[in-house]
């Protein structure tokens, strides 16, 4: 293994700018002549806008302009005039059909509300002023006459009779009633089951909270009739496509979207948001750059939230402890509007994973998606797969306990053991060794010593628990034809372009875009490995639609399996062209040229040509006819995967509860993951750690809560508790490897695993410690204290 190639713990090439404060995030950028936008947001969960009086606010110092929903019209062609036609609304790019064949019901989603506001934080007006503070001051002088309407925020109640309609005419607030699997076959399995386990679960609503809040700068260049949008995006090309094709602000070739350094995303920066659209529109209208930067409470109110499922799930088992069927009914809260990929999350990213790591002959899932007067809900780290894993891993744990089997033995007995394995819910698992990961995890964790540690805890007046999570996810998103057949509006391939310069250094343009994953290092490792060149000679270019032709961006643990496969394909073309050049230079037959360790050699001779020398020869074109062989050295590739990838593993959480305070302390955490081949173990371990932290946050601390009046009462870091450094022990992280057969690098992806695996591991441990199953997320100290006190009372009685 080379020191900078595949598998090496290469220290990150992008670190220098971040550790010295020279990162360049969107809010660090200021454009000459820019004005500042501040959004006036709805204080009501649901209200009709009778009138908006901006007259007084317009006279406030520094105000450039104030716009409301009625102002945001299309521009006439080649003119500054506005047509009497609204710009396009924000779209949801994945069509889901209900069981009865009807398409999902998508309520209109204007960038600025026109007549009705539908959640607290909904966009009412934008003030553009010389400074941000002036814009904020002016916004306080806007008078909005609201007619308050009844609202609904509760997931499980949104479909009840008598609830107000979030979108007028969309009955029972139902976006779709979707199903997957074999209903009759599953009912038959339950009819003959020896035991049926039933659980009711809530998958708590989360706020992603990347540390960098969202920001956007819209610019319009009058001379070229061209737009630039700097924004905090995980996928700038997708943003450009949607803003061009659906919002209709600018044709695609006249809109440049730049996402510079992005300070975390976790899904929340996939989507196209109102603020980006309005900054662009206002820049065109005012002919000035318009900048907006979110504060944290705006992020809580308006960034797309995650999860929010209410589920009843059942598992059928036979007399031998084999799983014979699984069925699920889920109500998924999608908020007030359908965000960019909202509909795919509780459907094809969720129910397709309900087989977990287990051979289950019959599965049937029903998902009813609802509108509520809450922020839109969309993908958040794991997106559907954490929800599925929580269902499956709670079900198997509870089932094992109910039928009196050891949860480890029960899992082992039901593992899928031969591959490929076709589940009843679309997915065909291609490779894995679930038993190997479990065995390794038990060993790393010292499971054998658990009974002794539990006894010690008991002696100290503490309750100790252990919980398992044998998760699987579908990553490497995704084969374009497959997702197209399931309703996706886009293909999910990835692109790459490799440009070799005459001096031999290399620029790799990729449609993936890092928001912390270290692509500038791992992608360069692949190039260094394949071309045998020093890693310092490789630069990764991403995040700018003027540089990279097209790409689908970074989410769904896809950048390695899909993005790097595209780079690999382009590198193969570079080597093929290089062999042609080398053959001419060394006056040999192309078929005799071998490429290894950065050298082109003529087989059976001592003649060789270094990669960099070949690159120069490719450009000067003195040794070959430019008619026979094109000069230059640049190759592109699009990689479309043939299957999802299936990372899987086992996480074990061991924790201790102090029954006097309700405080849960995680004592040990063991993770054994199979991500296929790993490019940089150091970076992968970091991804695992971070994922676990977010999953533990969901299980113990985090929960977005709307009160009965529809107010988000957890709208700051004082009210919404995220994990701190002292919430974790040192993690024990191990790996097993089964190569992924569906991509040339054998990679599966690692970005979401921890967040998927962790919640059921924690809850299984808590319920094991407490001896009953009634523990909801987030299991805060207050909730656990009540549960533990109940236990003590029972013991005393």
């Amino acid at each position: 293994m080379s020191e900078t190639g595949i598998g090496a713990r290469v220290q990150r090439l992008e670190d220098r700018r971040f550790i010295t404060g020279r990162g360049r995030y969107t809010d660090d950028i200021n454009r000459p002549g820019q004005a500042h936008a501040y959004f006036l947001r709805s204080p009501h969960p649901h209200a009709r806008i009778r009138a908006i009086d901006i007259a007084d606010a317009e006279t406030a110092p520094g105000v450039v302009a104030i716009f409301t929903g009625r102002d945001i019209k299309k521009f006439a062609p080649d003119s500054d005039d506005l047509l009497d036609e609204d710009i396009g609304g924000l779209i949801c790019g994945w069509m889901i059909h209900s069981k009865d064949g009807s398409p999902m019901k998508a309520g209109a989603h204007p960038a600025l509300a026109k007549d009705v506001v539908r959640y607290v934080g909904d966009h009412v007006a934008v003030v553009v002023a010389e400074t941000l503070r002036q814009a904020q001051d002016a916004a306080e002088r806007i008078v909005v006459d609201y007619e308050e309407l009844p609202s609904v925020t509760h997931t499980a109640k949104a479909r009840d009779a008598g609830q107000p309609e979030v979108h007028e005419g969309i009955a029972r607030n139902t976006v779709f009633e979707w199903e997957l699997g074999d209903k009759a076959g599953t009912e038959a399995a339950f009819g003959t089951a020896a035991h049926v386990t039933t659980i009711d679960l809530t998958n708590n609503r989360l706020v992603p909270n990347p540390m960098e809040p969202r920001a956007a700068i819209g610019e319009y260049e009058e001379g070229d009739d061209a737009f630039t949008l700097h924004t905090t995006s995980q996928n700038p090309h997708v943003a450009r496509l949607i803003i061009s094709a659906f919002v209709g602000l600018a044709p695609e070739h006249k809109l440049r979207v730049v996402a510079p350094d992005v300070g975390g995303g976790f899904g929340s920066k996939i989507f196209v948001y109102a603020e980006e659209v309005i900054c662009l529109w206002a820049a065109r209208r005012l002919k000035r750059p318009v900048k907006w930067a979110s504060d944290r409470t705006e992020a809580f109110l308006c960034d797309a939230h995650g999860r929010d499922h209410v589920t009843r799930a059942q598992l059928a088992t036979d007399r031998d402890g084999r799983i014979t069927g699984l069925r699920v009914h889920t109500i998924a809260n999608l908020g007030a509007y359908l965000s960019t990929f909202a509909s795919s999350v509780p459907t094809y990213l969720y129910a397709t994973l309900l087989s977990g790591q287990y051979a289950i002959p019959a599965i049937y899932a029903e998902v009813d998606a609802v509108y509520t007067n809450t922020a839109p809900v969309d993908a958040y780290r794991g997106a559907g797969r954490p929800e599925a894993t929580f269902v499956v891993e709670r079900l198997v744990e509870v089932a094992a306990r109910e039928i009196g089997m050891d949860p480890v033995a029960f899992r082992r007995k039901n593992f899928v053991t031969s591959f490929p394995h076709q589940t009843p819910v679309i997915m065909a698992y291609d490779a894995g060794d679930y038993d190997a990961a479990l065995t390794k995890a038990l060993s790393l964790h010292d499971y054998d010593g658990y009974a002794g540690r539990k006894a010690e805890s008991r002696a100290a007046g503490k309750l100790r628990g252990i919980g398992f999570s044998a998760y699987i996810e579908a990553c490497g998103i995704a084969p374009s034809q497959a997702v197209g057949s399931l309703g996706a509006g886009v293909g999910l391939w990835e692109s790459a372009e490799v440009r070799v310069n005459p001096t031999g250094n290399i620029e790799v343009l990729t449609g993936s875009h890092s928001h912390g994953q270290g692509h500038e290092t791992t992608f360069a490792q692949l190039v260094s490995h394949r071309l045998g060149v020093p890693i310092e000679t490789v630069k990764i270019v991403h995040g700018d639609t003027d540089k990279v032709q097209f790409g689908m961006g970074t989410y769904g643990s896809r950048s390695g399996a899909v993005g790097m496969s595209a780079i690999n394909k382009a590198l193969e073309k570079i080597v093929a062209k290089g062999k042609k050049v080398a053959a001419h230079v060394m006056e040999a037959s192309e078929g005799d040229i071998e490429f290894k360790d950065g050298q082109f050699r003529v087989a059976g001779t001592d003649k060789s040509l270094a990669f960099g020398d070949m690159a120069l020869q490719a450009y000067i074109a003195h040794k070959f006819s430019g008619q026979d062989l094109e000069p230059g050295l640049k190759e592109g590739a699009f990689w479309d995967p043939t299957n999802f990838t299936f990372p899987a593993g086992v996480h074990i959480c061991e924790l201790e509860i102090d029954p006097e305070t309700g405080v849960t302390t995680i004592e040990r955490w063991t993770a054994v993951d199979d991500f296929g081949n790993v490019i940089n173990p150091m970076i992968v371990e970091g991804q695992v750690h971070g994922g676990i932290a977010q999953g533990v946050g969901q299980a113990l601390l985090e929960g977005a809560h709307y009160d009965a009046e529809g107010q988000l009462v957890t709208a700051s870091f004082m009210d919404y508790c995220m994990p701190r450094a002292h919430d974790f022990p040192t993690f024990e992280v191990g790996m097993t490897v089964t190569e992924c057969p569906s991509n040339p690098l054998g990679m599966k992806g690692c970005g979401e695993a921890g967040a998927i695996a962790a919640p059921p591991a924690v809850i299984n441990a808590l319920t094991e410690a407490l001896g009953h199953e009634n523990v909801a997320m987030p299991a805060t100290p207050a909730a656990i204290w009540k549960a533990a006190q109940g236990l003590q009372r029972m013991a005393a009685e």
Binding site: G21, V262, R724, A725, T730
Partner: protein, 165 residues
Amino acid sequence: MTAPVAITLTVNGERLTRLAEPRETLADFLRRDLGLTGTHLGCEMGVCGACLVMLDGTPVHSCLSFAVQADGSAVETIEGLTESAAVTDLQQAFHERNALQCGFCTPGMLVTAQGLLARKASPSREEIRDALSGNYCRCTGYEAIVDAIETVARRRAASREELPA
């Protein structure tokens, strides 16, 4: 009370006089007026730690301080701490240990670490974790950050011992 006030302070070793609105936070002053964008705004309520700077040698939330409060003080941001090499070993340790991902929280983490090691030369891992209670990182799960700070504590202790008595 909105008329700008003249303040004189030392930022990263350079003494300067500027006008600042009374309501302007130190963070906004550093970022907008001085272009020192290594100081980040993550919550604007003193919870996340992304905006930490050294004010007269002590870590302070620049989002909770007004610029006028820094009148007469010495402020060091990540840019100045880098320039003066005061945190070079911490930066190197963060890099070696992969103690950052998106990098947004990193300047604040470095300021906290520098403040901690100034107070306590050899903190335990638990003390390091507790010292980070004012810093959110959403990416790393904190372990690598704790490791990096622990490493620097040890290295600094070792280099002190090597000094002639």
